[in-house]
Symmetry: C2
Subunit: 394 residues, 2 copies
């Protein structure tokens, strides 16, 4: 890795390794096998769309993390990760999507080679990329090891962002603002939604000044009218219509760091029911931001929002946010803390969340959200600076 | 689902159900639990970016498939799937990304309710979305059932495309051609790669005439110069440079149907080494297309390519293609057949592949590929119609 493409300082990676190793030590693990691409990138800098085949990082208590993956992707590791040539462990293409062989057979050999045949090894049991078959195969291949659940162990170390990470997120936030500004400028009855999303992508990837845009871990979700009663529809070729709300759930991304941000555009005159809900939502957001302070708990944000919405007769029945930062598909959340009544995680300065209380109602929906940073003192900072509310365009 | 958004005829879905059930019967399964979003969509039409939480389709030998997922996504199922209200099985938000509860606890309850407590149930052990934890939890919750490996059972039924599916892929192919044409037109020294990709997305999503573009399951991969020695790098903010090859691995997508297509652009005068390799590659592609006939085997394509490349002194060391069609991230392949020497799958009319022999060399790389359709007789049809070779721009 000699060509200056490394995203972060070596000191930043040392900080991360120290945190991950402290987490390992607390659980008594000799090693971690990390298949989550976000965790892989956080530890080593490795970046590439190769996570559709098995790959991972092996972390022990000493030395560099090892990158393990498909042979053709070793060149990608050489070009993006800070680790040295001796830390690469490629496997042959015959292991790829084969019904006769499984890459975990190769991984088991690597783990044995480095002395982990009898070790306590943490794996990410609840993760998109460590499959059920991977787990079963690893158990078979390493009968003398203890294969234990280390789900989200590394994710938790990512919760408090460093200054270097926050600088990336602030760049991403400028892109998020640019995207929603472009949406409001262009939205009008008759505009096809796929054309609108084409320009969202164009704005997102062109980026902000010299800061180039990266791809979001979730594609834009832009449902209109009754489709907006469903939170996760993407787009189609239909036109925007007068008398309908369309929400825009997007994220600006700078070098894999996400700042999700949602605003809703209404074309025409907003119905009273929606206006009242939007007012309550904005008041609830403000209450939640007041509660989003170091020393308070995740549930305090959810409860502050919830009591305002309850007065307006709205029961969302879902969490209202999650941590954000470095991410790869299919999720831009960190899958640790949830902003909901049962989550008593204490908020710390440097934590970052998407405070995301979407309203998916019967026949319509709106999203007005804030990506936030927990500060040393005072209420949370919002990464983006745009008016809260449904943006009405006559 | 009454608003005419259904992608395919009811007869097409009946065909698919019959195929999946025949596959189940052959393996003696009472039911399948399908978490792969491509398989879910293929069976029910369900479409949404909700696969970052657990969801699935339960298929038995009678009645409609059941959609099971997060409560907030039931509205998405109502709006995109052909199944009726009585076939929805939503679970509460408290199961989402919780360390105390797992959605498979809820699923087990549903399976018991429909009489599958002692059944032989097939699950997708090797899949991005059925995690190791999901498997272990399901085993615990259903001690009297047999939870068996049905990896790729549905994927295999997708291999031969119907006429309705081929019509979608032909629309996608027009978008693929439009993308590479735009790339060649715009590529020039100094153009930043993120700006080039911004326009790739714009072309892709605007689509072709009235056929709107959908998102690809893999983002564009556009590495230049030495970066092109790695197959899966995406993009950055660097400029295209004279004297470098950049390959463009993209896919036009129409309603989740993909036609991946790759071309390489060289700015300036192509070095002799690259020219010779490109000539061999084009000759190898032509040999492979000749071998891509119904009745031949997958390996015949790989071997035909391989013997041409071998004469040119090139050993790729990797498979040269995979089946394509309906797909969701993180892969646009179907993960069944591989075009490689060991795969003796007999080719059938209606099978579709990305014939993809990328060359990732020491310090440079090129990709020239063809998405193909196996015909009743004669050599394969190419979905796209663009000159084969490295496209040189002085």
């Amino acid at each position: 890795m000699g060509d200056g493409k490394m995203a972060f300082s070596r000191g930043e990676y040392d900080r991360r390794l120290a945190l991950a190793r402290a987490g390992m030590a607390a659980r008594g693990f000799d090693a971690l096998f990390i298949e989550d691409p976000s965790n892989m990138a956080w530890l080593t800098g490795y970046d590439g769309w190769s996570f559709y085949v098995h790959q991972g990082v092996i972390l022990t208590h000493a030395g560099e993390p090892l990158w393990w993956g498909r042979a053709m992707d070793a060149n990608g590791a050489r070009r993006t990760a800070w680790i040295g040539e001796g830390s690469l462990r490629p496997y042959g293409d015959a292991f790829v999507q084969s019904s006769e062989r499984h890459p975990m057979q190769h991984l088991a050999g690597v783990l044995k080679e480095i002395g982990l045949e009898h070790a306590r090894i943490g794996v990410e049991m609840e993760n998109y990329y460590f499959s059920a078959k991977a787990y079963v195969t690893l158990l078979e291949e390493l009968p003398n090891a203890q294969i234990l659940d280390a789900t989200a162990l590394v994710n938790w170390q990512r919760a408090v962002k460093s200054d270097e990470e926050l600088a990336f997120m602030r760049k991403a936030a400028r892109i998020s603002e640019k995207i929603v500004d472009g949406v409001f400028e262009r939205a009008e009855p008759g505009l096809k939604k796929n054309e609108l999303v084409a320009d969202i992508y164009r704005d997102a990837l062109r980026g902000y000044h010299d800061d180039w845009g990266d791809y979001p871990a979730i594609v834009p979700m832009v449902p209109s009218g009754p489709d907006a009663s469903a939170p996760h529809l993407t787009w189609n070729g239909e036109a925007l219509r007068e008398g309908e709300a369309t929400f825009f759930e997007i994220a600006g991304v700078y070098r894999r760091y996400h700042v999700p941000f949602c605003r809703t555009v209404f074309l025409g005159e907003m119905p009273e029911e929606m206006r009242l809900a939007a007012d309550a939502l904005v008041e609830g957001l403000e209450a939640g931001l007041e509660a989003a302070r170091a020393g308070n708990r995740a549930c305090d944000i959810a409860n502050a929002l919830g009591s305002v919405l309850e007065k307006a007769g709205i029961d969302r029945g879902a969490r209202c946010g999650y941590p954000i930062g470095l991410s790869y598909p299919p999720d831009w959340g960190e899958r640790t803390i949830s902003l909901r009544a049962e989550d008593e995680t204490v908020l710390e300065p440097g934590m970052t969340f998407h405070f995301m209380p979407g309203l998916w109602m019967d026949g319509w929906g709106i999203e007005i959200t804030e990506p936030i940073l927990i500060r040393e003192s005072g209420k949370a900072d919002c990464f983006c600076d745009r008016p809260r509310g449904v943006w009405v365009k006559d």
